[in-house]
Every structure is written in structure tokens, then in C-alpha cells.
Symmetry: C3
Subunit: 345 residues, 3 copies
């Protein structure tokens, strides 16, 4: 049961309304005006709930489900209980997500600038923005319409933020331009100088980091992740890219559009990542590399070389995924032999 302390409920919706939201076809439906109260997994749904089924693995759950209605594709429809209303669709899971968004629309409390926020007189704040307690907005900052700045976040001088973007509490932004509809979560650090210095006889010399961070539209950056500004060129994160928690993006890194970067990944300085790349959790990518479009990197990989478009890699150092699997198999087999030798010896 969704806890309505935390999530605002916008239901119920009739079966007709639900089907229309996602272009599903109602089947086995005696009365399309019946109201559905909530969304629920197959196992816990009751007869006023909508569920979804998308995978052969859930065939049993489907057969025993008490859900009143179910998003389902044609091929699984025959496995549904006789009294379940079906909303036929090719994409049950995606459409369940869409309907979930309608039942529990993302919270945006009313606009307003909290009395304890420090907003520089020279900052321009758009219409319908909400700026929470203790937020700090520096000189000449520009904030688009409909933004929400969380409590105690800090926006450095001259930063630009596009419309309908959310900045989490306690986040710190400087030296950056942020696009529209982004979500920068709590504790994210954007725009600090990259890790660049030279040494000589006189000791360490810091290389001034004179670039920015440019975040395009529809980007999300997870809690406590860090994105350093460029050293001269900019650090760029392309449109629609999703970054999880505790990720490190080094200076001058350029990430394409629609990428997925899972928690605890690190991308070292000056590396270029193409579009629609997936980097699984705890992987690392060395600096100055080119990672092609559509590349997939398995969890806990260490990428030390360029990767061509469309390749999937894994391991440390990362190799084509089939070779990585062979590595694992070869080592397993050597261990088995060693064990047998010991057993015999």
C-alpha cells in the first residue's frame, strides 16, 4: 500500500480512463465505468486494483491474482483469471509506469520563496518557482519557470538553470548551466574544479580549471554524485542521460544522450562517452578514452581502452563480454583441477 503521507493520490480512475491514458484495448470488461482505486503488484492486488503482467515468469502469479484489472500483452492474455479485466497493450510495464505517474503525480508543493532562503538581488527567478528554507542563490543566477530548489542547496554565482528543473536539498552547484526538466538529487556536487595539477621542482602547481559543466535537458543525477567542471573545454552530460547515486564524472568528460550510468561508476577525465551507453554499477572508465554509441559495460568492469559502437564489455581490464565469460570459465576450470589434484595428492 502506497503511504499517502508521502505520495499524493490522484485516483480513482475508470477503466475507460485508464485504457485511454496508454492506448490500451479493454477486453473482458462488462462495465468500463468501474473505478480502479490503486495500482498494485499481481500478488497483492485486489479487485479494485490495476496490476501488470509482462513476463512468462509471472504466469503463476497471474493465474492466482485477485487483481480487478491488468495491463497485459495479447500473448499472455489467455493465462488470466476469467473475471479479470484486461487492458491489452504491447508494453504492459512501460504503461504501468505511465499510469502510476497518473495515480501518484510527482509532488510539487506550491510555489513560494522561503523567508530563510538567501537569494541575491541580482538573481532572476522565474515564475512559479519554489525555493525552500536555507537555499542560497548567488549573484546573477538565472532560474527558469517552475523550478524547485530544495532546502539548503547552494547555487553559485552566474549559474543558469532551465525551467521545471529540481535541485535536491543540500546540493551544491557552481560554474554550470543546467537544462530544463532535470533532476539533480540531494547532495550532488557540480562544478568544482577537476583534479588537475602539475609537479616540478617547486612542488605542486594547480592547473586552473577554466571550463564549465553543461547539463542538457531531462538529465537526472543521483544523490551525492560529483561532476567536476572542465579544465578548459566543458564537462558535458547529454540530454536524457540518467546518472545514479555516488557516481564520479571527471573534468572534460563528455557523455552523450540517453545514457544510463549506474551507482558508483567513475569516469576519469577527458573521456568521451557516446549516446545510449549503459555503464553498470561500480565500473570505472579510464581517462582520455572514446566509448562508442550503444556500448554496454558490465558491472565492476575496468575500461582501459577505447570501445567501438555497440560493443558489450566486462572484466578488469575490460574485454568483449564473451571473452570475459570465457575468462571466468577458464579460471573456474583451473580451480577445479587444482582442487582435484589436492584431493588426490
Amino acid at each position: 500500500m502506497t503511504d499517502r503521507r508521502f505520495f499524493s493520490y490522484a485516483g480513482p480512475f475508470s477503466l475507460t480512463e485508464l485504457a485511454a491514458m496508454v492506448g490500451a484495448h479493454l477486453s473482458n470488461c462488462a462495465d468500463p465505468s468501474i473505478l480502479i482505486d490503486d495500482i498494485m503488484p499481481l500478488g497483492s492486488a485486489g479487485n479494485s486494483h490495476l496490476s501488470f503482467m509482462e513476463n512468462e515468469r509471472y504466469r503463476e502469479s497471474l493465474a492466482h491474482s485477485k487483481a480487478g484489472a491488468c495491463l497485459i500483452s495479447e500473448i499472455h492474455a489467455s493465462g488470466a483469471p476469467a473475471d479479470m479485466v484486461l487492458l491489452l497493450t504491447d508494453r504492459p510495464r512501460q504503461n504501468f509506469a505511465r499510469i502510476s505517474q497518473r495515480f501518484y503525480p510527482e509532488e510539487m508543493p506550491g510555489p513560494g520563496l522561503h523567508a530563510t532562503a538567501s537569494i541575491a538581488a541580482s538573481a532572476r527567478v522565474g515564475k512559479d518557482c519554489r525555493i525552500d528554507a536555507g537555499a542560497v542563490v548567488g549573484e546573477n543566477v538565472s532560474i527558469g519557470d517552475g523550478c524547485w530548489l530544495g532546502a539548503n542547496c547552494v547555487i553559485g554565482d552566474w549559474v543558469r538553470i532551465g525551467p521545471v528543473t529540481r535541485i535536491g536539498s543540500n546540493a551544491s552547484l557552481s560554474h554550470c548551466d543546467i537544462g530544463a526538466r532535470c533532476f539533480i538529487y540531494s547532495g550532488v556536487r557540480i562544478g568544482q574544479p577537476g583534479f588537475g595539477f602539475e609537479r616540478d621542482h617547486a612542488g605542486v602547481i594547480k592547473m586552473p580549471q577554466l571550463g564549465r559543466v553543461v547539463i542538457e535537458d531531462d538529465v537526472e543525477i543521483g544523490a551525492n554524485s560529483t561532476v567536476d567542471r572542465g579544465s578548459g573545454p566543458d564537462t558535458i552530460i547529454g540530454r536524457g542521460t540518467m546518472i545514479d547515486n555516488l557516481v564520479q564524472i571527471g573534468h572534460n568528460v563528455q557523455i552523450g544522450k540517453g545514457c544510463i550510468i549506474v551507482s558508483m561508476v567513475g569516469i576519469a577525465g577527458s573521456t568521451t562517452v557516446g549516446d545510449h551507453v549503459v555503464i553498470a554499477g561500480q565500473s570505472g572508465v579510464a581517462g582520455h578514452l572514446d566509448i562508442g554509441n550503444g556500448v554496454r559495460i558490465a558491472a565492476r568492469s575496468g575500461v582501459t581502452k577505447n570501445i567501438k559502437d555497440g560493443e558489450t564489455v566486462g572484466g578488469m581490464p575490460a574485454v568483449p563480454i564473451r571473452d570475459y565469460r570465457r575468462q571466468t570459465a577458464v579460471i573456474r576450470s583451473l580451480v577445479r583441477q587444482a582442487r582435484q589434484r589436492l584431493g588426490k595428492g
Copy 2:
């Protein structure tokens, strides 16, 4: 020497008092009313100090120690200098911890709500709480008696916090219920949406994350760690579990009681971890796995499969620890052979 700027001193204590605190038996003690001023390691202790000895490795240190008194088990007692008062106990180290807590009790400055804290009128704050400067407490938050909220922390609407819990400075909590006597350190992020989305022709669709985070009693979560809220089910951290710094806990993860999760570990979404599990530093656990009770995972392991109760694993992908050690040995031996071939070649 403990720096009394930072730690408040509650000593001295007599030998009788010290022995009573931990149920130790005084031995070699001419005058049990003698006062002990401080706790100190064997090597640096003087004759007004209490130390402890628990390990054969420290036999030499013991023999040369100038400590006035020492927590020690019976089996090591004969190695102590003739003029050292012994506090005999089976658990010298644990009881040293207990006595240390008495010498330097955890600081809790007086209660009070700082004038610059923003506390919603609808929030309920228990008795004897301390809320520091700049802290933000949202609508309908409930805070138990004796809590301490650090400066600039942010507590989202409707969050519940049990009694005698501490929230570190600059931490952010939302969509969560926190138990009693927890310690959430500085910079922790709890309750942000998990990393969940679907894709189809229309692009990325965010799956609403409609669960909470539930933290049971006596849990600690280290600095800058992140705990995502559930997607529908809750993310749960069981009673007495200790989590170190910079740890990532994904959505829907359920962790049992009394676990120890060391720094930089990541646990991916929907994985279940049993009771009394130890996960050493920088390891990763993939999503949708079951990790049994009492499991131990070596440092820097990558767990990709379910693990049964009581097993110890290591490596990437993680295997039973003996096989992991064999892997290391086998590889070392292959390298040795390669080196010899090169030497001969």
C-alpha cells in the same frame, strides 16, 4: 592523549568502580580505591592509566608497559609486570570499549531549538531535543524525545524519527521512518527515488518510486551514504545494522539485523540480505539476489548469485572463499611459470 576540546571527560574512576562497570575481577591490587585518570594503549599508558591486552601479539608490549592497570584475560595474566593491577575478564577489548564510553561519554550538548532552524508549525518535536542552526524540519514531521538534529540537515514532510536518534549535519531525509537510537551521519541521503525507469519508442519513462525507507532501531549509517526509497515495497534496514561511509543501498533492498556493511559497498535494487551478514569494503551485490543469514563477503567482491546461510565468499564473480584463494594461487603459479619461461627463453 585524548583532546578534551572535543571529548568531555567524566573520570577519574577508582579501580573498584572500573571493575564493577564491567564485572571484572581485581587482581594484584593493593588499594582498590586508587583513582585511574584515563584510558591508554599499552605502549603509552602511565601508572594512572588503564589499558587492555587481548592478543598474544601484544605480549611484548604488555611486558614493558607502564600502565597502572590493565583489562586482561586469565591466560595472559602471567605476562604482566609485577606492579600492574589486573582487571581479569574474558573480554578485555569489549570491556575496554565499555569503560571508554564511561570516561568519555558521547557528547550531547544541551537541548534547544536554534533560532535559525526552520521547523514547520505542524511538526511535533519531542522533549529534550536539540535542533541546530539551519536545520529544516518539514510539515507533519514527528521527532521523538532526546533527538539531536545537526546543523543544516533537512527532514522532509511527514518523516518520523524515533527517540534518542541523531541526524548529522547536512544530511537529507525524506519518505522514511527512522527508529530509536539511530545515528545517521553527516551528508547521508535517505529516501530519494530509486534508479527506475522504462524505455520505449517515446523515450525514457520514469517509474514512480512509491515506497519508503524504513530504518529500524539502533542502526548507524555512515557519512555520505545513500539509501533509496522503495519502488512500491519499502527499502528496509534491520535493527542494529551498522553501515559505513559512502555506501549505496538501492531501492527495495531489505537488510536484516546486526549486519556490518563496510565503506563503499553497493547493494543493487531488490536484493535481500539476511541477519548478521558482513560485507567488506568496496564490494558490490547485484540486484534481485538473496543473501543468507551470517554470510560473509570479502572486500572488493562482486556478488552475482544467491548465497546460502553461513557461507563466506570472495572474488569477482564471488565464489566460496576457498575457491577464491585457489584462484589467486593458481594465477600466481601461472605467472611464475610465465616468468620462468621468459627467463629461460
Copy 3:
């Protein structure tokens, strides 16, 4: 082009001035009073810009560059275009960094204590300090001259900060002494108790963490990194050491001078690291180890044993770098054989 919203420009400078800044020798220079407007990479520089060339790899870029002036070493000078002014120097890159610092000096907005900062009456704040909005300075804190405390940072009671040190926004410091000219970035956590506890029949007993963190002069600590205070001894970071983002330093760790610790490294409790050590990204060092002076640890290594002065190691567990490379080669060769067997079989 450097974005002058974010960086304050202090140019132009004459060729004479530039050469004097770094002790370079002007060559091929008809008019040393000519003004240089900006610094720029070889590829994008125009005739009023200064660039640098330091590596055979950039021979082509040099030959085609339109840069008006270039820092270059004698051995590469002959490859420069005929009309390019040369600033001859042994260290083109380091001196480019020095000159960059002169063109864009590090920003330090005017001093002043923001009205919303909470500064305890007992705190001593030096001359010419800047303390930004929402910063919290505890009782008896001592802050040297010329410091800059970022917005919403939190400085715990009795902390000492040396002169000309910067603390980033939303950082938290407690139980520590910080040297001069340090840069602690946004979101850093210093001084929280380390991860130390004992267990016995009565459950978990927290070991009081009674040490401090001591940060010597000229240290940098990257965004969202965490440094735990000592358990009895102090955690120490030596002069001039540079620490990147999201690094974890455990309690009692002692790091020497001039070390470089790259992003996402973890160093477990009570380990000692010598001077001038380099630890590359995502590596881990186990607890209670001695890492010698001048040691180099490759990226994603797991160090489980002491390392002698000057060694270079890699892998998990880490071994001398040559053996690590052999490991990789041996495994690659086994995979190749397996692939061939499968191809044949």
C-alpha cells in the same frame, strides 16, 4: 573560450611579462611588447593567444597551430610555424599552468560575514575572512586570516582552521585541525567517528572514537570525500597531499606528504601511507598496512599487504605491476586457447 561569467580575467599580458612570469626565454620574437589576450590549446588558439606544446604527440597540432605564442622546449622548437613566438622552457605544461593562474586568478570574492551565517560568539574569525550564507561556526572555533567558508558549511565546536583555507559549501567538519592554504571541497565530511565496534553476548558495543583528524598545510580534499577521526591516535593527512572526489579515509590512517589519491579510493583503518604515494582511481587499501614512500598503486587495485618504498603494484590482490601485467597476459592467452578449442571442437 573561458566563460568570464565564472572566471575573472586578469589579462592581457605582454610577451615580456609572460616570459618573466616563468623564466622562459623569448625566441622568434620581433616585438616583445605585443599583448597576449588569452591562453588556449594549440588547436583553437589564434594569433593573440598563448598555447603550449610538450609532447611529441602534438607535433602535427603544433605545425598547424595559429597560436601567436607557445611555451615549448628547445627540442620541439624546430617544429613550430615560422611566425609563432616561442617561449622556451624546460617545463611547458607546468609553466602554462602558472601563466593560466595569472590570466584567471582564483576567485575570492570580497571578505564579509553573511547575515544568515551562525557564528558562535566564542568563535575567533581572522581578518579578511568570507563566511557565506547559512554557514554554521560552532563554539570556540578558530579560523585563520583570509579563509573562505562556503554557504551552508558546518564547522563543529573547537575546530581550528589555518589561514587562507577554503571550505566548500555544505561541507561538515568536526573534531579536526586544518592547516593553512587547504581546500576542502563541497560536501566533504571530516571528523565523524570511525567504523569501530566490538560485539559480545550483549550485542554491539561502540568503541568510542577519541582521536581527531589533523590536516596539514596545502592539502586538498575533493567533493563528497569522507575522513573519519581517529579512534585514539589521530587520522593525519600530510602536507600538500591531493585527494580527489568520493574518497574514503578510515580512522587512524596516516598519509604522508605530497600524495595523490584519485577518486573513489578507500583506505581502511590504521593504515600508514608514506610520502609522494600515488593511488589511482577506485583502488582500495586494507587496514593496518604500511605503504612505503613513493609507492604507486594502479587503478582498481586491491592492496592486501605492506608495500615497500618505491614499488608499483596493481591487481586484486595487488602484486608488483609486472606480475599484474603477466596475469593479464596469461589469462588472455588461456582465453585464446579456449576459444580455439571451441572453434575446433
